[in-house]
């Protein structure tokens, strides 16, 4: 059975399929391509779930050893290796789930360049899976950079999205925000690369061993100042993706201008790679320095949580509200990591998964509204609940989930985060930031209810008299998201059992 659980299979299948779609021999038929993509994603999801079923969280050591060692750059000791532990497995499953629903929801959103779009989608999936499973710093970095290429084209590419919505405008703003996204991330990853190189260099001096493997790096001999320098370099790199507050400005633009399925992927998965990077590098390897950095980072997290929640309230574009809310939620993830204890880590991983579901659901709702009403301004919407009762039901459920109501998953994530930060041994700062981030519950309900009430409720408007309720595939996507939220909310131990890192 062991040979089935091979990670190359997990990571490279989407990439191969992406090349397959790209090849001129492959069909040009839109429906066939989409079906092919969907089946790849669903196969991948089933396969990941199969691995999860085989995985034994009580004895992770045996299960983490499935890698294939391949010398990549011999002079630097870089090996092409991958490993899986409980956390990366959870994130992989999440990735394939989000990509599956994104490819299903591409039906109405993508009108042009199908071949290119779906191959880029699968390439992005492969890159993200690579980030979550890499066990070598340079392999990690390679996938981190590889992710940029498809992300750039998916955000800025011309897929006829804006053409349907507002006739006459080109996707100039989408292109601009794609450039912004790439520049920001590239700036971050430059500094990150510096950190990785420093880490590699000093490790090789200390251990007399050229290696870039995560678990072979010994941090103990490296001078403290250098450790801090490395930690901060890496944090800036991950902080762009996460995003931590002064580095967040690419996010609202990119999320707003990208096509709906891409917004779902960006907010659902791409942001989580930043948090995963912080966990992998700062939390695990540079643990000594993270102990001292954590309180400062917790303050950043607090600013993320409260400040962006206020900003979200002031937005008038429904997609922007959701974008800012996801920054706020990523602050919670960061706070959970800063707690540096088991509860905090679990909370962080759990909230990542919960937030991935919620935010992709919210973007889905926004996209459905946008396609139907051709508007995203919250003041000119309103009254569509009467016309679209099914969408309204799902929107209500997802909005309630996002403000942390029990029986939905984000509730568990929020509570565990607060608990973790309060029980943390990192001093009074963590405890205080846990308490000060509590008002998030009120603020988030303010902006989310604004979204729901202004966007959907109210008297029916005449201009929306001809819109239809959601179609079957949208129904399926929303149903899958809501079911996932409720299942995780009622049986949180599904995820918590696997986070034993």
């Amino acid at each position: 059975m062991d040979f089935l659980i091979s990670i190359p299979f997990l990571i490279f299948i989407p990439m191969l399929m992406s090349f397959l779609i790209m090849s001129p021999l492959f069909t040009n038929n839109e429906i066939l391509i989409r079906r092919f993509t969907k089946s790849v994603c669903s196969f991948h999801l089933v396969y990941t779930i199969f691995i999860i079923a085989m995985f034994d969280p009580a004895n992770p050591y045996i299960n983490t050893l499935h890698f294939f060692g391949l010398d990549w750059i011999q002079s630097m000791g870089v090996q092409f290796t991958f490993k899986i532990d409980g956390i990366s497995l959870i994130l992989c499953a999440l990735t394939s789930f989000i990509f599956l629903i994104a490819s299903v929801s591409s039906k109405l959103n993508i009108r042009k360049n199908h071949k290119f779009y779906y191959s880029m989608l699968l390439l992005l999936m492969s890159a993200i899976l690579g980030i979550f499973t890499a066990s070598d710093m340079f392999v990690f970095f390679m996938f981190w950079e590889l992710e940029l290429i498809p992300a750039y084209f998916l955000i800025g590419g011309d897929f006829g999205v804006n053409g349907i919505a507002i006739s006459g405008t080109s996707n100039e703003s989408a292109k601009k925000s794609a450039v912004k996204f790439v520049l920001f991330t590239f700036f971050g990853s430059m500094i990150m690369l510096l950190g990785i190189l420093l880490l590699h260099y000093y490790n090789s001096i200390v251990t007399q061993n050229l290696t870039a493997q995560f678990d072979k790096i010994l941090i103990s001999g490296i001078p403290n100042q250098i450790q801090y320098l490395i930690a901060i370099c890496l944090l800036i790199g991950f902080g762009v993706k996460l995003p931590i507050i002064p580095l967040h400005t690419w996010l609202p633009d990119a999320h707003t201008n990208a096509p709906t399925p891409i917004s779902m992927i960006l907010a659902g998965i791409l942001l989580k790679t930043g948090a995963y990077g912080i966990y992998k590098f700062n939390y695990q390897i540079l643990h000594d320095s993270f102990v001292h950095i954590a309180p400062i980072l917790a303050i950043f997290a607090l600013i993320n949580i409260v400040y962006t929640a206020f900003v979200a309230y002031a937005q008038t574009d429904i997609k922007r509200i959701v974008a800012y809310s996801s920054i706020s939620n990523m602050g919670l993830v960061l706070l959970g990591l800063c707690a540096l204890n088991q509860i905090g880590l679990n909370a962080s991983i759990f909230h990542m998964s919960a937030h991935a579901l919620v935010t992709s659901g919210l973007f889905m709702v926004c996209g459905i509204v946008y396609i139907r009403c051709k508007k995203r301004d919250i003041n000119s919407l309103g009254g569509i609940a009467v016309k679209m009762p099914r969408l309204f039901a799902f929107a209500t459920l997802i909005v309630l989930a996002s403000i942390g109501v029990p029986i939905f998953a984000p509730f568990i994530g929020e509570i565990l985060t607060f608990m973790g930060a309060l029980f943390s041994d990192m001093g009074i700062v963590l405890k205080l930031s846990a308490l000060f981030s509590l008002p998030l519950l009120i603020i988030s309900s303010c902006y989310m209810l604004k979204f729901l009430h202004k966007g959907f409720m109210g008297e029916a408007q005449e201009c929306f008299s001809k819109i239809n309720d959601i179609s079957n595939h949208e129904f399926l996507v929303l149903l899958a998201i809501t079911a996932g939220l409720i299942i995780l909310g009622i049986f949180p131990s599904i995820i918590i059992n696997y986070c034993t890192g």
Binding site: S75, Y201, Q315, Q342, F418, L441, L449, G458, S493
Partner: protein, 621 residues
């Protein structure tokens, strides 16, 4: 015996949930479910619930705490379980819930007859029963919070039931956000409490925060723990209870909740949902035992609310608003009873109030101002009972003031009784004036529920008479005077308006206006300020672009003036290249970005190359 009771209690908690799921999913997937079957099943669950509660009340002698083996969350030694705590208090609260639910559901059948979304209404009523029953039987704070939130959600969904009406959806939003303050206070109290028990309990273990642990630990640990933490926890608990029970500072939400349909107001916002605050107060009461000051705080909160809300109720002309203020005021009396540690009186008063208040709601005239004599008479009887003149209302009120010797409080009590009688008879007369009385008998389902609640009231009265002692004191006479006074005034047709205090009362002491004009505005301005900073400081992409541009221009200049000069030298030698097109100068930002990209990539490559060289050098050593 205990097993049977536990199983049945689990059943009565979860039956409404199954029913909710059946109705909603059935509608969602367009499976035809007969309306009558929904009605009968809903009524049967409520009836079954009340029967089980009565049975359990008669058969339990001691408290039962049941912990299931299913771990909701388990991280190391941090475990949250599902469980049940069955004692007299939880059974009593659940019994009242199911009885009132039964009658209100019976009333809703004809009331909602013409409504298109009737199935959703009944589904939500069932969900409400589930949430509140779960709340009353929960053995620990986490489970309490779980159900506490769900009940809040159901209230929100029921108030905004007609979401296409602007005012209703706004009211539901306001109610939800106001309740959210209490929820946040509760969750803050819970996490602080668990921290407190983890840090200062002798065993230093993470417990599940069960109410039993809470009681024992608080006495053990308050010696070692910092005072301030303990006080904050107590205060947060009180705030959470006060918000849910619409006490002082928070009573405006109950007024907005009156936008809901009549049965919803009768069930949620007068009899059952609002008392969950009282329930939490009683459950966490042992936590305060070492801090006597908090009992005084609770008592003062209760009395102040009772006074303010009774005064406000006197000026209202809308019957639902009068009843809403009255609910806040009566809950204030219950808080006061808890504050003077007269728990028994608080619970008795809660039961009596639930029966009376829901009956008053169910007998209100219809929206088209049609009333009938049966309802009018029942309303008057309920009013008499509410003002403490007859039936269980009388005994309950006398029980609260039974042991009080302080003259000031007795005086306040008399005033309160006077005001209660005053507003209730005043609104009855106002309504009688305004409405047309129908001659024909109404449909039996419309007045049977109110009569049923009246019968419950009388049965409870007989039970109280046999089990508790009481004496008729000053408040009773005050209430009686009020009836006489109002009646005389009514005969003389002179409804006086005390000019000074009247507008104050009419607007509910302007609390709502203060909130909307001050707090909401402050909130909005904070939000817009944040947005402004975000836009102008963080999002100031232009500055970055300009800086980048200048850098690129500088690079360009270097390239043109220095590099190219060198090149041109060569070029001038080879004249064929003299017409080279300097594409870099065409001012295209996109292209500048590309240049930057190429430069940066080259730099990285060089960096890696240098690094590899260094490595190989050191590797050789």
């Amino acid at each position: 015996m205990a097993d049977i009771i536990i199983n049945n209690i689990s059943l009565i908690i979860f039956l409404p949930l199954w029913l909710f799921l059946i109705i909603m999913l059935g509608r969602f997937f367009s499976v035809y479910v007969n309306k009558k079957i929904i009605h009968i099943l809903t009524l049967l669950t409520s009836l079954f619930g009340s029967i089980v509660c009565v049975f359990a009340l008669l058969n339990t002698s001691s408290d039962t705490v049941y912990e299931s083996s299913y771990h909701f969350i388990k991280i190391n030694n941090f475990i949250i379980n599902y469980g049940l705590q069955i004692d007299r208090i939880s059974l009593t609260f659940a019994l009242v819930l199911f009885i009132v639910s039964f009658f209100v559901q019976l009333f809703s059948i004809p009331y909602m007859k013409d409504e298109k979304k009737e199935y959703r209404f009944f589904a939500l009523l069932n969900l409400f029963n589930f949430s509140l029953a779960g709340l009353f039987f929960s053995p620990n704070l986490f489970q309490t919070y779980f159900f506490w939130e769900i009940s809040g959600i159901v209230s929100y969904l029921l108030i905004g039931f007609d979401y296409s009406k602007e005012n209703k959806s706004l009211a539901s939003k306001k109610v939800f956000i106001m309740n959210r303050i209490g929820d946040t206070a509760l969750i803050g109290a819970i996490i602080l409490c668990s921290y407190f028990m983890y840090e200062y309990a002798p065993a230093k273990s993470l417990t599940t925060l069960s109410f039993i642990d809470l009681n024992s630990v608080s006495t053990l640990t308050s010696v070692y723990a910092p005072e301030i933490l303990f006080k904050v926890i107590c205060l947060l608990f009180i705030v959470a209870s006060a918000v849910k029970s619409a006490q002082i500072l928070f009573y405006p939400w109950l007024q907005d909740a009156m936008e809901a349909k009549l049965p919803v107001s009768a069930l949620l916002h007068s009899a059952t949902l609002v008392v969950s605050g009282l329930f939490l107060l009683i459950r966490t009461l042992d936590f305060y035992t070492t801090e006597e000051i908090f009992f005084k705080v609770i008592a003062v909160i209760g009395l102040l609310t009772a006074l303010i809300c009774s005064l406000s109720a006197c000026a209202q002309t809308h019957p639902k608003k009068v009843l809403a203020y009255s609910t806040s005021a009566q809950l204030g009396l219950m808080f006061f009873a808890v504050g003077i540690l007269n728990i028994k009186a608080a619970v008795v008063f809660f039961i009596a109030h639930a029966f009376i208040k829901s009956m008053l709601f169910l007998t209100l005239p219809k929206e088209n101002n049609k009333w009938n004599y049966t309802s009018f008479v029942t309303f008057l009887v309920g009013g008499l009972s509410l003002s403490g003149l007859i039936f269980s209302g009388m005994i309950a009120k006398e029980m609260i003031s039974f042991g009080i010797t302080n003259n000031v409080i007795v005086l306040i009590f008399s005033i309160l009784s006077f005001l209660t009688s005053f507003y209730i008879i005043r609104i009855a007369l106002v309504l009688a004036n305004k409405c047309d009385f129908e001659k024909k008998r109404p449909e039996w389902t419309l007045y049977i529920p109110a009569l049923g609640l009246l019968i419950c009231n009388i049965i409870f009265y007989i039970y109280l008479r046999n089990h508790f002692e009481y004496k008729i004191a000053e408040p009773f006479w005050a209430a009686l005077t009020a009836w006489v006074v109002v009646y005389v005034l009514y005969i003389k047709n002179a409804f006086f308006k005390v000019t000074l205090i009247y507008p104050l009362c009419l607007n509910g002491f302007y609390l709502d206006k203060i909130y909307t004009s001050f707090i909401v505005k402050a909130y909005n301005s904070i939000a817009y300020f944040c947005n402004l900073t975000d836009k102008n400081i963080f999002m100031n992409y232009k500055q970055i672009v300009i800086t980048t541009k200048y850098t690129i221009k500088f690079a360009n200049w270097v390239e043109n003036k220095i590099m190219n000069k060198t090149v041109e030298l060569i070029v001038s030698c080879l004249k064929s290249f003299s017409k080279i097109d300097l594409r870099a100068q065409n001012g295209n930002v996109q292209r500048y970005n590309l240049y930057a990209f190429i430069i940066v990539t080259t730099l990285i490559t060089i960096l890696i190359l240098i690094y590899t060289a260094i490595l190989s050098y050191y590797g050789g050593n």
